[in-house]
């Protein structure tokens, strides 16, 4: 299974220009709403056509604007699951599934029965979509897609129509339901956790362009761009530079960090990023490796941890200015830190091994 896409389009508020190749089976596309990620899916499905471009699936063009190839969506073998699941409201669950199956009445019935059983919706077979919950609708939509049996399944924000609890449940369920499907599944989402859980390979999209592409785990560990770092959930992204003496300057945090020998390959560094979970609170008597002086701005508390938003303190012990950036770190609620108070001063430290270097 391989998919290669190269599309260009002039959309209302931006240029869409994306190219990628992949042979993964579970691909995530991460991007904010309006970044062009749903449009990319619609081009692959053939629902819309880009101004120009080529899309090749398993060695065959399903779109090639130069050669005037543009296979109809009906013949592409690419199924699209919409955010609202797009179940036909005039049909029962069974009819929704049977209508995409080719063959005799009996074939339809048997295959629909099998799928409804597999997806645990047999008890809903005579219900209309309007009578189903969001999670049930999603299961029906997926059963319908499986009934059709496409080579590629496109999931457009599959969980955005569900509420909190159900969302997490369905994330697990969806993966289970797709377990024995061996075609390509592409999921589009603005949620980094959904994409991280689901995909082996990820594309990060910003303003119509692919800014990051790679193995999901590696890319989340060390994104290559500032936007990519932001979208994979890093809040502490700082301007930085390395001088001739291999010292890393981080003016926003007032740090000068000497780097080890052999770092010369990293001379184009523009930013560094530090994940909040790697920032530790220093006790009064600890010196620390890279200490920063902060003031706690606000605290978000849940069962296990505090998420603390902070600003850097100036040399005269006042805050730099009102518009100073707000960063964040996380602390586990353990013996040492049972409570944290707003507007208190703290010292934080981090291991320079944990720094993510960003060149773009």
């Amino acid at each position: 299974m391989d998919l290669s896409v190269s599309v260009k389009s002039n959309l209302d508020n931006f240029q869409l220009n994306m190219s990628f190749e992949t042979n993964s089976k579970r691909i995530g596309i991460l991007g904010e709403s309006g970044s062009g990620k749903s449009m990319l899916l619609k081009y692959i499905a053939g629902i819309f056509s880009p101004d120009e471009g080529k899309i090749m699936l398993n060695g065959e063009y399903i779109l090639n604007s130069e050669e005037k190839i543009n296979i109809k969506p009906q013949d592409r073998d690419v199924a699209y699951m919409f955010q609202n699941y797009a179940l036909f409201p005039n049909m029962t669950v069974r009819e929704n599934i049977e209508i995409v199956i080719e063959g005799s009445k009996e074939d339809k019935r048997t295959r629909a029965n099998h799928l409804m059983n597999k997806f645990c919706i047999d008890n809903l077979s005579e219900k209309k979509p309007g009578e189903l919950s969001g999670g049930q609708q999603q299961r029906v939509a997926l059963a319908r897609i499986m009934a059709y049996g496409p080579k590629v399944i496109l999931l457009d924000e599959p969980f955005s129509a569900l509420d909190g609890n159900l969302k997490e449940k369905m994330q697990v369920e969806l993966e289970e339901m797709l377990n024995d499907y061996d075609g390509i599944v592409i999921m589009v989402s603005h949620s980094k956790t959904e994409i991280f859980k689901f995909s082996d390979e990820v594309l990060v999209i910003n303003h119509g362009e692919i800014i990051e592409h790679g193995n999901t785990r590696e890319l989340f560990m060390s994104p290559n761009t500032r936007e990519g770092a932001r979208m994979t959930g890093i809040r502490n992204i700082l301007e930085a530079s390395v001088d001739e003496d291999l010292v890393l300057h981080v003016p926003e945090w007032k740090l000068k960090i000497p780097l080890e020998e052999g770092f010369s390959t990293r001379e184009n560094i523009k930013y560094i990023a530090v994940r909040g979970k790697f920032l530790k609170i220093l006790e009064d008597d600890e010196k620390g490796e890279n200490p920063i002086n902060i003031e706690v701005e606000s605290i978000y508390e849940d069962m296990e941890e505090f998420k603390v938003f902070f600003a850097i303190r100036g040399d005269d012990n006042n805050l730099l200015d009102e518009s100073a950036n707000v960063y964040s770190f996380r602390v586990k609620k353990d013996g040492k830190h049972k409570t944290l108070t707003k507007n208190t001063y703290l010292r934080l430290d981090f291991d320079k091994e944990k720094i993510i270097y960003i060149e773009n």
């Binding site: 499905a45 969506p73 013949d75 699209y80 797009a86 036909f88 409201p89 995409v100 059709y148 496409p150």
Partner: protein, 227 residues
């Protein structure tokens, strides 16, 4: 009271049959042509669709007599289409029941078209896109998804078309005339008897046409909404 009974006893019922017959045939024609054109509008580009919308709103905004005049121009035996129909198929439109049907269809068609078009437009486009990516043919999507979901709008269009066809006067009087027993519809009968100053007979017809229209519109509603 006696006078009224006398009127009813001597009433020529032909305008009633002619009106109902005309309205039924015209509604059926409008139903199919209107839905067909509204479906075409879905796939047309912006300009072509605007043109179709424009043409389809003309009979709504122009006086029916203007439509009647244009129909006369087209179907007059001395003109191209009219003489062709007469010579080749021995069909004549002017001063015949066919004229009634054509006039009523032309006048009622825009109502069917506009309602069908609005109904189709309201259907969630994602349903159609999803159906396409699931391999369903355009034909299947139209009959199994688009039409059933649009039913309420199509129903409204059908009822309005029928009502309009039943009451058609202007265009009909110009192209079909008012030949008693042949092209004389209720609307024309009412106009004629009022001209004669016979208000009782006119009133009788008014009550009849109101009752009939109501019963038919009500029945269509009940039948089509049953499912």
């Amino acid at each position: 009271m006696n006078e009224l009974l006398e009127v009813i006893k001597n009433l020529d019922w032909s305008p009633l049959y002619i009106s109902i017959k005309t309205a039924i045939v015209a509604t059926i024609m409008s139903f199919f042509i209107g839905i067909h054109l509204a479906r075409k509008a879905l796939v047309y580009g912006r300009k072509k669709r605007a043109l179709l919308d424009g043409i389809m709103s003309l009979p709504l905004v122009l006086p029916p007599t203007v439509a009647g005049f244009i129909l006369l121009l087209i179907f007059s035996k001395r003109r191209l289409v009219g003489s062709f129909l007469l010579d080749t198929f021995d069909i004549s439109v002017v001063q015949t029941w066919l004229g009634c049907i054509i006039a009523a269809t032309v006048i009622s068609l825009p109502l069917m078209y506009q309602n069908a078009r609005a109904a189709f437009d309201q259907v969630d486009k994602n349903l159609i896109y999803a159906a396409r990516t699931l391999g369903m043919s355009e034909r299947m999507i139209f009959y199994k998804v688009l039409l059933p979901i649009s039913k309420p709008g199509l129903l409204a269009g059908t009822i309005l078309s029928f009502a309009r066809a039943m009451g058609e006067y202007g265009a009909t009087s110009m192209i079909a005339g008012n030949i008693p027993g042949k092209t004389g519809t209720i609307s024309q009968a009412i106009a004629l008897v009022i001209d004669d100053g016979n208000y009782l007979r006119a009133g009788t017809w008014v009550v009849i046409v109101m009752t009939i229209s109501f019963v038919i519109v009500y029945s269509i509603n009940v039948i089509l909404n049953k499912k």
